[in-house]
C-alpha cells in the first residue's frame, strides 16, 4: 500500500499513530484494513460509546445485553430483538441497500439461537414530489419485500415519514424480533482451546468492501461513486442459513457463533476472540470464495452477505458441517481457538496479520465537543396569535389526512408478507403489531416511533416523546411496555452542533426509559447522515416491545360498533408548535414541541391498560401526528371493511379550534366502549388520576366534530377514506 493509504481506508492521522503505538511496528496491509473497519464508527462506536453507556440496562423484565442483539426473559422465554440502520447503502442502491439491511438484522437474531418471528421497518425519505426521492422510496420498499417475503419472516409493522431533511440521505432502520427458550441461547464468542472455527453460509466476494468504514462512517459528498461498497443480498440463501444455523445450534455442538455483518471476517474473528478472552488462528486459503485472486485484506474486509462464523466443539466438525451442506451452503474449517489473545491471520501459512483481539475491539473513545446550534433560537420562536385559523376545517382535515406521513400505508405493507408463520393477530395499520406466542396465553406487541421534527426543535423532549409514544402505542394494543431497542440516526458527530443533538437525545431516552422502568437492550448508531442537500433531522428511532398477558384482550384502533361511547383520556392543550398541521398548512417547522409530563403519561397509559385488560374497551388509539381530529378519523376509517362514523359533541377546552383539532398534545388516548362500561372506566381513570372525558358517540355515516357548540367538521366517511386511503398510491403511481 502507498504511504498514507490509511486515509483512503477512513483512518485519521491520529488513529494511525495510535496503531503504530499498539503494534510497536508498521502495520501490514491486512492489519491496516482490519483496524480501519473495526475502529470505524459503525463497528467500534469511538465517538458515541461514552454516551451509550448512560442508557439504562435494567428494567421491569430480566434483560439479556451484550451480544449482537439483546432481549428480555418472559416466563423462561427469551425475546431477542434489535434495530439496525442501513441508511447509506439504501441511498446509494435502494433495493439492495434495504434488502441487505433486512438480511443483516435477521442474522443478528438467529445467531443468538432465536427464531426470527417478525420484522418492522422505520423508513424516512425526502418528499415524494421529487422524482429521485420517489425512486429511492420505491427501491427501498422493493428491497424489503424482495428479501423479507422470501426469507419467511413476516414484516408486521414500522413507520414511514417524509421530510425534506432526508432528501439526499434516506433512513432505513430495520428491526427484527426472535424467540428462543432461555436455555437454547448461544453467545458470540470463541471458547475452548483447540475448538474449530468454521466458516458457514455463502462464499466471499469483493462486494461491500469498506461498507462500514468508508460508506457508513462518512457523510455523502458531491459526485462520489460508492456503489461498490454496497452488498448484494440473497434471501434464499439466508432462509437456508436460518434453518441450518438453528439446526446446528440444536445439536449442542456449537460453542459460539457470530454473524459476519459489517466488517465481515475482521469483526467476527476479533470480536469472538475478544468476547471469549481467547485467541484465534485462521488460514485464509480455507475461506470459500466466489472471486479469483482476492487479496488477504479484501477477504478480511468483504461484507458479502449470508455468512456466519461458528466455534465448533472439537471432534464435532463433521456433524455440524453435514447440516450446512444439507442446506446447500458452504462449510469450511478455517482455524482454531488459541489462548494467546491474538487474532492471527495466515495466507498459505504465512502470517499476514497478528493483532491482540482487544486492541481491535476496544476502539479509541473520543470525547466529542458539543454546542447548542444557534439556529434553534429562531426556530423555536413562535407565536400562535400570528397564525390565522383555517377558514374551512373540513378542508384542513382532508388535506392533513392526505399528507404522506399520515396517510394510510396499505400500498406499502400489502407488498410485505405480514402473515407468514401464522402468529400475526393484529395486522399492520393499527397502533402496534401483535403476534401471538404459540403454546402460551401471551402475545408480543411491537412498534417503532420517532417524531424527528420534535427532536430537531428539542432533542431532549423529542426523544422522551418517542419513548412515551412507543409505549402508548403498545398500551393501545393491550400490551405492557417491556423493553427498548434504539437506532440513533444523526449527522456528522465531528460538528459540535450535530453532536449536541446526539447527546441530548440520549439523555432524553435515558430519563424516559427510567420513568417507564424499561431497559434499552440493544441498538445501533448511525452517524454522518449528511449530504450536500441536507443534514437529517436528529432521528433516534425507538423500537419497543410489549407483553400482552392474555391474547383475547388484544385491542385495535378502529371503532367496532355504532352506539359506543367515545372517551378521551388525557388533556388537550393550546399547542401547535412542531405539528404536522403547521408544516402542512403554514409551511412552518417551528415552535416549542408539545409538552411532555411523564407522570401524566404514565397515568393515562395505566388507566387505558387496566380498562383494556379488564375487557371494558372496544377500541383504543393514541393521538399523534395530526392531532385529535386525525386520530378520530382513523378510528372511523382504518378498517375499510367496517367504516363507522362518530359524533364528537362534547369537547370543551376553551382553546383555539386549530390547536384543539390538530395540535399534538401528548399523553392522549381515544377509547370507545359500551355505554355500560363508561362508569367503570371513569373509576379506573380516577384511580390513576388520568384526565377523563366522554367526548361523543360512534355511529352514522359522517365524522362530526364540535368545539363547544360550534360544528366545525362534518365529513362523509367516504371522503375521509378517499383522501387518507388513496393518497400514497396517487402520489407514487399517479
Amino acid at each position: 500500500m502507498k504511504p498514507g493509504a490509511y486515509r483512503s481506508l477512513g483512518l485519521s492521522d491520529q488513529e494511525y499513530r495510535h496503531i503504530l503505538k499498539i503494534l510497536k511496528r508498521k502495520p501490514s496491509d491486512t492489519e491496516l484494513a482490519m483496524f480501519s473497519v473495526e475502529w470505524s464508527e459503525h463497528c467500534g462506536y469511538p465517538r458515541s460509546r461514552k454516551w451509550l453507556k448512560i442508557l439504562p440496562k435494567t428494567g421491569k423484565y430480566k434483560t439479556l445485553i451484550g451480544e449482537d442483539a439483546g432481549g428480555i426473559i418472559v416466563d423462561g422465554l427469551a425475546i431477542i430483538f434489535k434495530m439496525e440502520s442501513h441508511n447509506h447503502p439504501s441511498q446509494v442502491e435502494p433495493k439492495q441497500g434495504a434488502a441487505t439491511g433486512v438480511g443483516g438484522i435477521i442474522r443478528d437474531i438467529f445467531t443468538a439461537g432465536a427464531r426470527p418471528i417478525a420484522l418492522l421497518d422505520s423508513l424516512r425519505f425526502g418528499p415524494l414530489t421529487q422524482t429521485y426521492n420517489k425512486y429511492i422510496f420505491r427501491g427501498v420498499i422493493e428491497g424489503i419485500q424482495f428479501y423479507g417475503n422470501c426469507v419467511g419472516v413476516p414484516t408486521v409493522g414500522g413507520e414511514i415519514y417524509f421530510d425534506k431533511s432526508y432528501t439526499g440521505n434516506c433512513l432505513v432502520n430495520a428491526m427484527c424480533i426472535g424467540i428462543a427458550k432461555q436455555t437454547e441461547l448461544v453467545r458470540a464468542r470463541a471458547v475452548g482451546l483447540g475448538n474449530s472455527i468454521m466458516y458457514v453460509g455463502s462464499s466471499t466476494g469483493r462486494d461491500g468492501i469498506g461498507g462500514c468504514s468508508i460508506l457508513a462512517s462518512h457523510e455523502f459528498k458531491e459526485g462520489e461513486e460508492k456503489r461498490p461498497t454496497v452488498q448484494i443480498g440473497d434471501p434464499f440463501t439466508e432462509k437456508c442459513l436460518i434453518e441450518a444455523t438453528l439446526e446446528a445450534i440444536n445439536t449442542g455442538y456449537v460453542a459460539g457463533i457470530k454473524d459476519m455483518g459489517a466488517a465481515g471476517l475482521t469483526c467476527c474473528t476479533s470480536e469472538m476472540a475478544s468476547a471469549g478472552n481467547s485467541g484465534m488462528d485462521v488460514e485464509l486459503q480455507a475461506v470459500p470464495r466466489r472471486e479469483e485472486n482476492m487479496e488477504p485484506w479484501e477477504l478480511m474486509m468483504s461484507e458479502s452477505q449470508e455468512r456466519m462464523l461458528v466455534c465448533v466443539k472439537k471432534g464435532k466438525e463433521e456433524q455440524v458441517k453435514k447440516i450446512f451442506l444439507k442446506w446447500g451452503l458452504c462449510a469450511s474449517v478455517i482455524g482454531k481457538v488459541t489462548n494467546d489473545k491474538s487474532v492471527t491471520i495466515r495466507d498459505n501459512g504465512k502470517i499476514v496479520a497478528r493483532i491482540k483481539a482487544h486492541s481491535l475491539t476496544r476502539a479509541p473513545v473520543y470525547d466529542m465537543p458539543y454546542k447548542k446550534p444557534a439556529h434553534l433560537k429562531e426556530a423555536t420562536k413562535f407565536a400562535l396569535k400570528n397564525i390565522p385559523e383555517p377558514k374551512d376545517y373540513n378542508k384542513a382535515l382532508l388535506k392533513l389526512l392526505a399528507v404522506p406521513s399520515i396517510a394510510n400505508k396499505a400500498w406499502v405493507y400489502e407488498q410485505y408478507d405480514h402473515m407468514v408463520q401464522v402468529n400475526t393477530i393484529v395486522l399492520p395499520g393499527s397502533d402496534a403489531a401483535v403476534l401471538r406466542l404459540k403454546g402460551t396465553d401471551k402475545a408480543i406487541a411491537a412498534t417503532t416511533d420517532c417524531n424527528s421534527r420534535y427532536c430537531f426543535l428539542d432533542p431532549y423532549k423529542g426523544a422522551q416523546i418517542a419513548i412515551a409514544e412507543a409505549a402508548r402505542n403498545l398500551v393501545c394494543s393491550g400490551a405492557r411496555p417491556a423493553a427498548v431497542t434504539d437506532c440513533l440516526n444523526f449527522g456528522n458527530p465531528e460538528k459540535p452542533e450535530s453532536f449536541w443533538y446526539f447527546k441530548n437525545c440520549i439523555e432524553g431516552i435515558r430519563d424516559a426509559c427510567k420513568s417507564f422502568n424499561v431497559a434499552v437492550v440493544s441498538g445501533n448508531v448511525s452517524l454522518y447522515n449528511e449530504s450536500p442537500q441536507s443534514s437529517i433531522n436528529p432521528t433516534p428511532t425507538i423500537g419497543m416491545i410489549g407483553i400482552v398477558n392474555h391474547v383475547d384482550r388484544v385491542c385495535t384502533q378502529n371503532f367496532k360498533q355504532s352506539g359506543d361511547m367515545v372517551i378521551l383520556l388525557g388533556r388537550s392543550k393550546e399547542e401547535l408548535g412542531a405539528s404536522e398541521y403547521l408544516a402542512e398548512a403554514h409551511n412552518m417547522i417551528k415552535g416549542s414541541v408539545p409538552h411532555i409530563d411523564l407522570k401524566l403519561e404514565q397515568a393515562v397509559q395505566k388507566a387505558a391498560l387496566e380498562a383494556i385488560e379488564k375487557g371494558l374497551v372496544n377500541s383504543a388509539h393514541d393521538c399523534s401526528e395530526g392531532g385529535l381530529a386525525v386520530a378520530l378519523a382513523e378510528c372511523c376509517i382504518s378498517n375499510k371493511n367496517k367504516i363507522i362514523g362518530a359524533n364528537i359533541d362534547n369537547l370543551d377546552y376553551n382553546i383555539r379550534s386549530d390547536a384543539l383539532f390538530f395540535g399534538e398534545s401528548q399523553s392522549r388516548i381515544i377509547i370507545s366502549c359500551d355505554k355500560a362500561s363508561v362508569e367503570k372506566i371513569r373509576k379506573i381513570a380516577l384511580k390513576f388520576k388520568a384526565p377523563f372525558r366522554v367526548i361523543g358517540k360512534t355511529g352514522g355515516q359522517v365524522l362530526r366534530i364540535l368545539n363547544g357548540a360550534k360544528e366545525l367538521i362534518c365529513l362523509p366517511l367516504e371522503d375521509l377514506y378517499e383522501e387518507w386511503g388513496g393518497s400514497l398510491k396517487r402520489k407514487i403511481e399517479g
Binding site: Q145, N149, C150, V151, G152, D234, P235, F236, T237, K239, C240, W327, G328, Y413, E414, Q415, Y416, D417, H418, M419, V420, Q421, V422, T424, I425, R436, K438, V551, N641
Partner: protein, 232 residues
C-alpha cells in the same frame, strides 16, 4: 390418516401447514425433505408456500425437478391426495400435475391481503364441507398468482367442473373488481380431472383458527379428513 408436508429449500409455509395439521386439525403429520422419495403410508401430501430454490428462474420451475416431485407425481397417479398452496400450486403447474401457468400479478406487486373466494365445486374431497357458492375469507400472499390457460384449456376446466375457487367480493360477486391479481376468469384454485390434486393461491393455513380471526380455510383440511374417513 397421515399428512406429509414437503420441505423444499426456500419453502416458508411448511411449518405453518405442519402446525395447523398437527395442532389444529389434530392429525398425524410429518415433513418430507425434497430429496426423499418415500411417500408410502401417506394419505395426503401438501406442497406448501414459499420460494422454493429461491424461485430464481421462474416460480416452481426448479422445484419440479427435485427428487420428491417424481414420487409426488406417482402418488397422484395412484389417486393419492395432493394439495399445493401458493408456491405449491405454482410447482404443480410447472410439474404438469395441473393445467395452466402463472403470470406475474397484473399490478406487478406482491400482494398480501385478506380476500374473498367462492367455493365453486363442493363435490370434491377438498371442499365437501362448504356450501356450493359459499364465500370464504382466506388471505393471499404472492407475486405470481395471475392464472392463465388457453381457451381450449379453460373450456376443458369448465366442462369438467375443475374450477374449485374463484375470487369474488364479500357479497360473492365474481367480477374484475374482486380480482386481486388478474387471474383468468377469476380463478383462485383448480383441481385435476380425477379430482385428487388441488392447487390454490390463497393460504387456508392462515385462516384456520379463531386466534387469527377466521376459520374459513380450516374446512379444506377437514374436508380431506372427512373424505378419507368415508372412503375407508
Amino acid at each position: 390418516m397421515k399428512f406429509g408436508v414437503v420441505v423444499f429449500p426456500g419453502s416458508n409455509c411448511d411449518k405453518d401447514c405442519f402446525y395447523v395439521i398437527k395442532d389444529v386439525l389434530k392429525q398425524p403429520v410429518k415433513y418430507i425433505w425434497h430429496q426423499d422419495t418415500e411417500l408410502k403410508r401417506l394419505d395426503c401430501v401438501i406442497l406448501p408456500g414459499g420460494f422454493s430454490y429461491g424461485d430464481y428462474l421462474r416460480t416452481g420451475a426448479i422445484a419440479r425437478f427435485s427428487p420428491v416431485m417424481k414420487s409426488v407425481a406417482a402418488f397422484a397417479a395412484k389417486g393419492g391426495t395432493v394439495i399445493g398452496i401458493c408456491n405449491g400450486f405454482q410447482i404443480l403447474l410447472e410439474a404438469g400435475l395441473l393445467p395452466g401457468v402463472m403470470l406475474r400479478n397484473a399490478g406487478l406487486h406482491f400482494i398480501c391481503r385478506h380476500i374473498y373466494i367462492k367455493a365453486q365445486n363442493t363435490r370434491t374431497r377438498f371442499t365437501n364441507l362448504y356450501r356450493e357458492g359459499q364465500v370464504l375469507n382466506i388471505p393471499i400472499a404472492h407475486n405470481e398468482g395471475n392464472y392463465y390457460i388457453d381457451s381450449d384449456g379453460l373450456k376443458e376446466l369448465k366442462d369438467n367442473d375443475q374450477v374449485a375457487f374463484r375470487y369474488c367480493s364479500a357479497a360473492g360477486v365474481v367480477d374484475g373488481s374482486a380480482n386481486p391479481n388478474g387471474a383468468l376468469d377469476n380463478i383462485a384454485g383448480i383441481i385435476n380431472k380425477k379430482g385428487n390434486v388441488l392447487g390454490m393461491m390463497p393460504h387456508p393455513e392462515r385462516s384456520s383458527e379463531t386466534d387469527l380471526g377466521l376459520r374459513d380455510g380450516y374446512f379444506i383440511f377437514e374436508s380431506i379428513v372427512k373424505w378419507l374417513e368415508v372412503k375407508r
